[in-house]
């Protein structure tokens, strides 16, 4: 099995009167076990040149209900450019320039696709990666 860790550090000296310095690490395991996740899409980079709502990750091709973690980052450096994130028909949130997200993804039904909608049609770079339990391929598709 593989050992993969994800560490978050939240820091601020001035958002409140107590200094914020939170660091937490998670080891990415298969659902309900201490066995590490073994599959990944690898780190993808796409440069969007349209404001169309497009499919990023398709929930029908992997294991419904199995463990998966998704990383998405808006790599734009223009503060006004953002990326809307949707799961199925639900708005999740907006990633502004430089923002990233790291979420669990249940792929709870075939309609649970992750979709993105860039705010601009000029080149907007996005990076994403999924680390997942997935389905073992047993035959050629």
């Amino acid at each position: 099995m593989a050992t993969t860790t994800a560490t978050i550090t939240l820091s601020s000296a001035d958002i409140q009167s107590d200094v914020l310095a939170l660091t937490k690490q998670a080891t990415l395991n298969k659902g309900g076990t201490t066995t590490g996740l073994e599959q990944t899409t690898g780190l993808n980079k796409i440069i969007y040149v349209s404001t169309a709502n497009v499919l990023l990750l398709d929930s029908t091709v992997l294991g419904v209900g199995k463990a998966a973690k998704v990383y998405i980052a808006n790599k734009s450096t223009d503060a006004s450019e953002y990326l809307d994130i949707q799961i199925h028909d639900q708005n999740v949130g907006r990633l502004y320039a430089g923002d990233w997200m790291f979420i669990p993804w249940s792929q709870s039904d075939p309609d649970g696709n992750i979709r993105v909608k860039p705010s601009v049609a000029t080149a907007l770079p996005v990076e994403y990666m999924m680390i997942h339990e997935g389905a073992t391929q047993t035959a050629a598709a």
């Binding site: 593989a2 050992t3 993969t4 860790t5 994800a6 560490t7 978050i8 550090t9 939240l10 820091s11 601020s12 000296a13 001035d14 958002i15 409140q16 914020l20 939170l22 937490k24 998670a26 990415l28 395991n29 659902g31 309900g32 201490t34 590490g36 996740l37 073994e38 990944t40 690898g42 780190l43 463990a67 998966a68 973690k69 990383y71 503060a79 006004s80 953002y82 994130i85 799961i87 199925h88 639900q90 708005n91 999740v92 949130g93 907006r94 990633l95 502004y96 430089g98 923002d99 990233w100 997200m101 790291f102 979420i103 669990p104 993804w105 249940s106 709870s108 649970g112 990666m129 680390i131």
Partner: protein, 139 residues
């Protein structure tokens, strides 16, 4: 304004044949600007003792002083359980996002839109399960 940063580091020496060492740092700013967010719920801890669904954050103006998905907000949630089988399921409104197993955390952008964007959690167990959570949001 405040300066708040969120850093993610993902590492693995054996997930792929090439070492994975990914780092991303975001400065949490108001929508479409370089001005830092100035409001937060603070780090909160909630203990559940039921497998009913809880509303963790209400997506309404009374709870957060902004009213549209155009405003910036980020949510941090961590499952503090140490029992591998214990998880919480996160929903936004009625859409399932995913499961946080023991020790897992999530960092989520949040588009607030009344009660159609409530953040809900459902523990997998009726025994005590503790989570930590926090929201950073725009002025």
């Amino acid at each position: 304004m405040a300066t708040t940063t969120a850093q993610l580091v993902i590492t693995s020496t054996d997930l792929l044949s090439d070492t994975l060492s990914l780092s991303a740092i975001a400065t949490l700013t108001n929508s479409g600007s370089a001005t830092g967010v100035t409001q937060t719920t603070g780090l909160s801890r909630t203990k559940t003792e039921s497998n009913s669904q809880y509303t963790l954050y209400h997506g309404e103006v009374a709870s957060f002083p902004f009213a549209s998905q155009d405003q910036a907000a980020k949510i941090y949630i961590k499952n503090l359980s140490t029992t591998a089988a214990e998880f919480i399921t996160i929903h936004i409104n009625s859409e399932e996002l995913g499961r946080l197993y023991a020790g897992d955390w999530a960092f989520i952008p949040w588009s607030v839109a009344a009660d159609t964007s409530d953040i809900k959690i459902t523990p997998s167990v009726t025994s005590a399960l503790t989570i930590e959570h926090m929201v950073f949001f725009e002025s």
